[in-house]
């Protein structure tokens, strides 16, 4: 039972890192970035390719961070001309990018599932309240918690965060007071993508890297974002923790129906609160 709760927390913090980027990009640019899962997969393959030592792990982390920033900036530039078009067009564009990236990764790393080892000293296990548990997953919970606090503080307490929130709320007004909001949106897209690729590296020892993983994690992140409410950091955190627990418990208690448990949670939230737990009413149906 405790193991399951801890697993849920570990998956939850991974999902938070993944979903908060997706959520901010959507809230900010009104773009549903379906390439988010492919970015995660890129990070996961990097993690697998360099796994086994601290040097390798940090190298993978560095490459993934830079790659994520660049990919986010490029995606931001690609979606900019589509601002006035429908969500479907933006989704198709990012979907196309996702396919290209995923196929290139398969060409580069092969069809077979790869596994990534946790860095030395974290690959053992420790005893928590009488239960043996992998150290790496505990670290993952810690990293998720730190990142959650950091993202929350940046968005809620700093000038940059205020700018981001203002752009989410009213883009034209921000432009009127003399701020180049293209820069803000590109930066948010880049940081969101960075979070996706680094989540891939962090998630390597849990999920491994295999073709099709991009779709799996994209769906999980979308469910988190829908449950939490689009564009809300707090929503992404709560949604990720809920889905982490629901998914893990579902796999333990009803292994055959685990995916239905997930869908049932989604349906329940949407019936009770269509805009998500922390979404504003304006987020729904307006566009």
């Amino acid at each position: 039972m405790l193991v399951s709760v801890l697993n849920g927390l570990a998956i939850g913090s991974l999902l938070f890192i993944l979903a908060v980027g997706l959520s901010l990009v959507f809230g900010m640019m009104d773009v549903l970035n379906l390439a988010h899962g492919a970015l995660f997969l890129g990070g996961a393959y990097l993690g697998a390719a360099f796994s086994g030592s601290w040097g390798g792990f940090l190298t993978a982390f560095g490459i993934a961070a830079v790659g994520g920033l660049v990919a986010g900036a490029v995606l931001s530039l690609m979606t900019a001309p589509l601002r006035r078009r429908s969500h479907l067009d933006q989704a198709l564009l990012t979907l196309g990018v996702a396919f290209v990236v995923a196929e290139l990764l398969i060409i580069a790393f092969g069809d077979d599932p790869l596994s990534a080892a946790a860095p030395p000293a974290l690959d053992g296990s420790v005893t928590v309240l009488g239960v043996v548990y992998p150290t790496y997953r505990l670290v993952l919970i810690g990293v998720g918690a730190v990142l959650a606090v950091a993202v929350y503080l940046v968005v809620e307490r700093t000038r940059v965060g205020a700018l981001v929130r203002a752009t989410v709320a009213d883009r034209e007004m921000v432009a009127t007071i003399g701020i180049d909001n293209r820069l803000v949106t590109t930066a948010v897209f880049a940081v969101g993508s960075l979070l996706a690729t680094t989540a891939g590296v962090l998630g390597g020892p849990v999920y491994g890297a295999r073709p099709g993983l991009d779709a799996t994690v994209l769906i999980l992140a979308l469910v988190v974002v829908v449950i939490g409410g689009l564009g809300s950091v707090r929503g992404a955190l709560v949604g990720a923790l809920i889905i982490g627990q629901v998914d893990t418990l579902g796999r333990v208690l009803l292994p055959e129906l685990a995916s239905f448990v997930l869908f049932a949670a989604l349906a329940l939230v949407l019936v009770l609160r269509p805009q998500g737990l922390f979404g504003g009413p304006a987020a729904v149906g307006a566009r």
Partner: protein
Amino acid sequence: MTAVEAPAVPGGAAAVTPRAPRGWTGLVTVVVVVVLAAVPLFLAPFATTTLTRILVFALFAVSLDLLVGVTGLPSLGHAAYFGAGAYAAGWVSINVTAEAPVPLLAGAAVGAVAAALTGWITVRSAGVFFLMLTLAIGETMHQLANTWDSVTGGANGLIGIPSVRIAGAPLTNAGFVHWYVLAVFLLGFALVWLVARSPFGTALRGIRDNEPRMRAIGYPTALYKYAVFVFAGGVAGLAGSLLAAQARFVALPDIGFLTAAFALLAVVIGGAGSLWGACLGAALVILVRDALGPSLGGHGTLLLGAVFVLVVYLLPRGAAGVRLRRRGTS
């Protein structure tokens, strides 16, 4: 709600010409149907089979176009109903009977029921939420197919589906299978076309263009969206039963995300809202994936991904849009 009924009279393809010939459109329709029907007489079996696959995928794309183009509901999980129909038709063919109308009806019914079970939640949402929800539903169905080994064969796929039989005689020849698929395709296409042309279809277009106004003038828009979602699910299931009849094998990718995305690509290439455009788009997708894919080392997806990106920038209204602009008519 709206179950698809009355299977085709197989064999007599040209007899099922769906549209009242009206000027050029009618003539072109007749010519296209005759050419499609004559194909097995002239082409090699492999080319015929490719064309048959195109027809299967085209019917699936047409059912999706009814949602995306006509009603304005962009679904990324439509393969769930296509795959459900394919599995149902395959299972019925193996365990009950492969006699002609039965697998078709089973596929269509299961597709419609699956859409009815999941549709009530999707039609409550709009725009990007609809995209996400359908994506989540599609993935759920995919995982269900993966775990429900005893019925679907899990990761191995549903193997050993017998040939479709008509009046007791199995259709083993690729040409006969082609005529069977063509007949059902024409029936399905005609059904979707009639729905799109009916007052119901006009109301759907109204919902696409301005749902609050449609609600204001008294249309129960949620009910309409639910009805068309279930109907499109049924037609997708019908197309799935054709897949089971043609390939005689149903695998996990058939119900997966890629299939749904490719169908959406077919619709968008053809120009959302244009049913014949969706068929052309389906032809392109199948040709790239099945005919060109092997020569690219199985990386047809890479090419299709690039096509996605190009279509968004270069063909904002699809192939049908290009034609309309050049002719200057609507």
